[in-house]
């Protein structure tokens, strides 16, 4: 049975067809993408923590960037990975990309790393590398803690990682100065904290989709994470810090206006509800 047709203004406000809401949102997004009104971006404390953690890594140690994401969260995790890569290159830190799940993450991150490497004149195998997708979750981490070349085996291109110049002297987890977990999946951080950060005191930083980020604030408070990027907002802040405004800055600009629309719609709906209740038309929203 279909809902009764709205007869009063307050009813109409409360029963705006969802297609109109979608169209309004799409309109705001297209408008701001094509004719942006720029808003300032100020790096937050968790974002500054990520940058400071990268900068603090000793020169003889590697940074691991775990790219546990795929196309479904690429809008947030892609710019996060890119900004972290820029932070590594700008601070002259050597890094490796790897992931435990899903496998597309290493390919998408490799494209971003190659693009940035061209800009900084960095060389694969010397300044950065890709350890590839490694299946086995906790088992991979426990094996890495003891012997990295054995646990990783071959890199993304099928070459034994032990033969890469940047792997000289890299034996176990003590050679790692920081792990940046860029992920759209829960449980990855818990694995790294439980098996690597806790037992071996290897510093960790996280970059999460905005949906999952609230879970990880306690990890910041307990210093288990040195910093955190929260969704596209965190990516935009780090892009601003490394002076490479890119997709995330554009996203956050549009995002702010989309939020204004959503807040206006929520207020409108509630006003309609209050008017209806004031006229004694029941309490149905």
């Amino acid at each position: 049975m279909s809902a009764p047709r709205p007869t009063t203004v307050s009813d109409r406000i409360q029963q705006i067809p969802r297609h109109y809401v979608y169209l309004l949102l799409a309109g705001v997004v297209v408008w701001q993408l094509l004719f942006p009104i720029r808003l300032p971006i100020t790096p937050s404390v968790p974002t500054r923590g990520v940058y400071d953690a990268v900068a603090a890594v000793p020169d003889d140690k590697l940074i691991i960037i775990t790219t546990d994401w795929d196309a479904s969260t690429q809008a947030e995790t892609g710019p996060q990975t890119q900004a972290v890569i820029h932070a590594c290159f700008q601070n002259h830190k050597k890094f490796v990309i790897m992931n435990l799940q899903p496998p597309m993450g290493v390919k998408l991150a490799q494209d971003l790393a190659e693009e940035a490497a061209q800009e900084y004149g960095a060389v694969y195998g010397v300044d950065y590398a890709n350890w590839g997708y490694k299946y086995g979750y906790e088992n991979v981490l426990m094996a890495m803690a003891k012997n990295i070349p054995n646990a990783i085996g071959d890199d993304f291109y099928g070459k034994p990682v032990g033969e890469l110049p940047l792997m000289q002297g890299v034996e176990d987890i003590q050679a790692i100065g920081l792990v940046v977990i860029v992920t759209g999946l829960s449980a990855m951080t818990e694995m790294w904290v439980g098996l690597i950060q806790g037992p071996y005191r290897t510093p960790l930083a996280g970059a999460y989709t905005a949906v999952m980020a609230p879970i990880y604030y306690p990890y910041l408070d307990s210093d288990q994470l040195k910093g955190m990027l929260v969704g596209a907002k965190g990516a935009a802040e780090l892009e601003a810090m490394v002076d490479r405004p890119g997709k995330a800055v554009a996203i956050m600009n549009v995002q702010s206006w989309a939020h204004v629309l959503i807040i206006a719609l929520i207020l409108l709906g509630n006003l309609g509800y209050l008017f209806a209740r004031g006229r004694g038309e029941g309490s149905q929203p």
């Binding site: 297609h19 085996g153 098996l195 806790g198």
Partner: protein, 226 residues
């Protein structure tokens, strides 16, 4: 035609196809949804072989004469005995092994994950404790006081063993009510983050459609500040 252009058009058509769901459930969005799931599964199989099994299992077994690796798939295939009524106990062997390993690993992770967070809950609330931090004494103390009040009131909300009657019980009830409000505020903030994440994904797709796809047809779109 440039192969990249085929990929661009395929991605644009797939994006628009999936977004037809916004109008209503339809076969086009279903088709592209299934293609996406199929591609992901296919990629997973290929990547598992090329980036893991080939280098770590197949090559050592075939080229390095490590013949004992042949037992790995035999042991792994024990899972499939779940379908046999007579030999189902073989599947339980391998499942038991996996459950045991998972439990052991979880126990190993538990304390490193949670004990620092429990320890971090004990925050200094006196003026002296804030003296060591330059210039943020008030902020730190305020932050710590807010944290501890929220922690205690929320914990009291989950304390069900004492009825909210009598002097102590009524005060516990007030604390629980305050804790409930704090929980609602926290859930609201989390939901706000969820909205932000969903809109980010939508904007990401619109960036692709406008800058990459339409930009390849009409250069003006590619020049906009996307």
């Amino acid at each position: 035609m440039n192969p990249d252009l085929y990929i661009l058009w395929a991605a644009a058509i797939a994006t628009l196809g999936v977004y037809t769901i916004l109008y209503r459930e339809n076969p086009i969005s279903r088709l592209f949804e299934h293609i996406f799931v199929g591609l992901s599964a296919g990629y997973l199989i290929v990547a598992t072989w090329t980036l893991n099994l080939e280098g770590k299992w197949w090559n050592p077994m075939i080229h390095d004469k490590k013949w004992y690796w042949i037992f790995a798939p035999i042991v792994g295939s024990l899972f499939y005995f779940i379908y046999s009524r007579r030999l189902g106990w073989l599947a339980r062997l391998i499942m038991g092994l996996f459950f045991g390993t998972a439990a052991g690993t979880f126990f190993r992770q538990f304390f490193p994950i949670y004990s620092p967070q429990i320890y971090a809950c004990f925050k200094p609330l006196d003026y002296q404790a804030g003296m060591g931090i330059q210039g943020v004494i008030f902020d730190l103390l305020l932050h710590n006081w807010i944290f501890v009040i929220i922690l205690l009131t929320v914990m009291s909300y989950f304390f069900f063993s004492i009825p909210h009657e009598g002097r102590f019980g009524r005060n516990l009830g007030r604390s629980a009510m305050l804790g409930r409000w704090f929980l609602m505020i926290a859930f609201g903030a989390m939901f706000g983050n969820t909205v932000m994440a969903r809109i980010s994904l939508f904007i990401g797709r619109m960036q692709f459609l406008l800058k990459d796809w339409l930009g390849s047809l009409i250069p003006w779109f590619a020049t906009r500040g996307l």
